[in-house]
C-alpha cells in the first residue's frame, strides 16, 4: 500500500467511524434539535469519508470503490484512531469527544488545504468549512454544560476526563506521516499548539479543569483497536455483507 493511499484511508476511517457513532444518536439525543445537529455533523463526516475512500480506492488501482473499502475491510484493516471508536456514553462524553476531535480535525484540514496533492487539498478545503461548524457546536455545549448546574458540570468534567487519554494518538507521527510531511500530508505533532490553545480556552470558559491523565500511546494507525470497533463494524457492515452491492 502506498503512503498516500494509507494516509487517505486514515483520514477516511476517522471520519467514517465517528460518523457512525454520531448516527447512533439518531432518535436518542436529549432533544429534537440536538438529534438533528448530531446526525447532520455525522452526515458531513460521512461525505468527507466517501471522498477520501473513493480516492484511496483510486490510488490503489485495484478496482475497489468506497463501498468495498467501507463495508468489506476487517477490523484490523481499519486505521482510525481510538478516540472516534469510543462508545457515545452520555451526552457530556459525546461532546467531549466532539470537542477534542473537531479541534484536531479543523487544524489538520486547515493545513491539508495547502497539500501539494490537489485531491487532498480540494477535499480539505471543502471539509474545513464544515468542521468549523462542528467545533463551534461542541464548544458551545462544553461551555453551556460545564458552566451550568452542579450536575451538568460534573458530567461534563467526567466526559472530558473519560475521553482524554485517547487524544495523544491524534498527534503521534509515524513513518507514513514522516514521509508525507514534506508537502502531501501534515505532520501531526505540528497541530498540537493550535489544539491546546483552543481546548484550554474552552475549558477555562467552561470552568472545567484540564484532565491530568497521561496520554496513552496509540495503536489505531497500525490496525490494532479497542474492543469497541469490532462491534461497531458488525453493525455497520451487516447489511452490505448480507446483500453484497446493496444500494439505495
Amino acid at each position: 500500500m502506498s503512503d498516500r493511499q494509507e494516509y487517505a484511508l486514515r483520514l477516511a476511517d476517522d471520519a467514517l467511524i465517528l460518523s457512525h457513532r454520531l448516527a447512533e444518536w439518531s432518535s436518542n439525543a436529549p432533544d429534537l434539535e440536538e438529534d438533528i445537529a448530531l446526525t447532520n455533523i455525522g452526515l458531513d463526516l460521512l461525505g468527507q469519508a466517501r471522498e477520501l475512500l473513493t480516492y484511496a480506492g483510486e490510488l490503489e488501482g485495484a478496482g475497489r470503490d468506497e463501498d468495498d473499502l467501507a463495508y468489506l475491510r476487517t477490523e484490523h484493516e481499519f486505521t482510525c484512531c481510538h478516540l472516534v471508536e469510543q462508545p457515545n456514553g452520555d451526552f457530556g462524553a459525546t461532546m467531549a469527544r466532539q470537542l477534542y476531535f473537531s479541534t484536531y480535525q479543523l487544524a489538520l484540514y486547515e493545513q491539508l488545504t495547502l497539500s501539494t496533492d490537489d485531491r487532498f487539498a480540494a477535499i480539505a478545503a471543502k471539509a474545513v468549512k464544515e468542521v468549523l461548524y462542528h467545533r463551534d457546536h461542541a464548544t458551545g455545549w462544553v461551555i453551556r454544560l460545564g458552566d451550568g448546574t452542579a450536575l451538568s458540570h460534573d458530567r461534563m468534567q467526567r466526559g472530558l476526563d473519560q475521553m482524554w487519554r485517547f487524544c495523544g494518538e491524534l498527534f503521534e507521527p509515524d513513518e507514513v506521516t514522516g514521509r508525507l510531511a514534506a508537502g502531501i500530508g501534515v505532520d501531526p505533532e505540528r497541530l498540537l499548539p493550535a489544539w491546546n490553545s483552543h481546548i484550554d480556552a474552552v475549558l477555562s470558559e467552561a470552568t472545567m479543569s484540564r484532565p491530568s491523565g497521561t496520554w496513552r500511546p496509540g495503536t489505531g494507525r497500525r490496525g490494532v483497536h479497542s474492543e469497541h470497533l469490532g462491534y461497531l463494524l458488525a453493525e455497520m457492515q451487516y447489511l452490505h455483507r448480507l446483500h453484497p452491492g446493496a444500494s439505495w
Binding site: 440536538e34 466517501r50 480540494a122 468549512k129 457546536h137
Partner: protein, 167 residues
C-alpha cells in the same frame, strides 16, 4: 454540438430545481458550475456539492440527465468537482429573493472561511425573519432540516423559520 446547442442546454438546465428547496434552481444556488460541449459533441455539465455529505447530489444528477434527455440531449456527461469549494456567496440575487419568499432567510455574506470561529456566542449577524421582517430573531439550533440550514425563531411574530447558513 454547436454554440446554439450549448446555449439550449444551458436553458434546459436553468429549469432544474434543487430537490430539497424546489423554488430555487441549481444555477441560482451556484452549484451548476459549467455547461460545455466536449470535443466529441457531448454536453458536459459540471456541478459541485453544497456540503460534502449533501444527500441531494444523486437526485440532482438524475434530474439533470432527465431534463436534458427530455430536450433531446442524449450524450451527457456530469462531472462533480470539489474545488473551488462552494460558498453561499455564489447564490444569486434572484436566488436569495426566492429563498426569502419561500420562508428561508438567505445567508449573510460568508467572507473568508465561512462561519466565524467563536468560542462564545452570539453570532454577529442579525438574521431577518422571512415572515415579518423583524431582526429580533434567535438561533434555536445551528443545524436544521438539511445540512445547509439552521433553525431560528422570531421573537416579534413568534414564528419558527429556517436560515440558510453562511458557508
Amino acid at each position: 454540438m454547436t454554440i446554439t446547442q450549448e446555449k439550449d442546454a444551458r436553458e434546459t438546465l436553468a429549469r432544474v430545481v434543487d430537490p430539497e428547496i424546489p423554488v430555487i434552481t441549481i444555477a441560482e444556488l451556484g452549484i451548476l458550475r459549467a455547461v460545455e460541449q466536449t470535443a466529441e459533441g457531448a454536453v458536459r455539465v459540471t456541478i459541485t456539492p453544497t456540503y460534502s455529505g449533501c444527500p441531494a447530489m444523486d437526485v440532482i444528477r438524475e434530474e439533470i440527465r432527465v431534463a436534458l434527455a427530455a430536450d433531446g440531449f442524449r450524450d451527457v456527461r456530469i462531472d462533480t468537482v470539489l474545488s473551488p469549494a462552494w460558498t453561499t456567496d455564489w447564490i444569486t440575487a434572484d436566488g436569495r429573493r426566492k429563498l426569502a419568499d419561500f420562508g428561508i432567510a438567505p445567508p449573510a455574506p460568508a467572507g473568508r472561511g465561512g462561519p466565524v470561529p467563536v468560542v462564545i456566542q452570539p453570532r454577529p449577524v442579525a438574521v431577518r425573519c422571512p415572515q415579518c421582517g423583524s431582526e429580533r430573531t434567535r438561533e434555536v439550533s445551528r443545524f436544521g432540516s438539511t445540512a445547509c440550514k439552521a433553525q431560528y425563531r422570531c421573537d416579534a411574530c413568534l414564528e419558527p423559520f429556517d436560515y440558510f447558513k453562511s458557508l
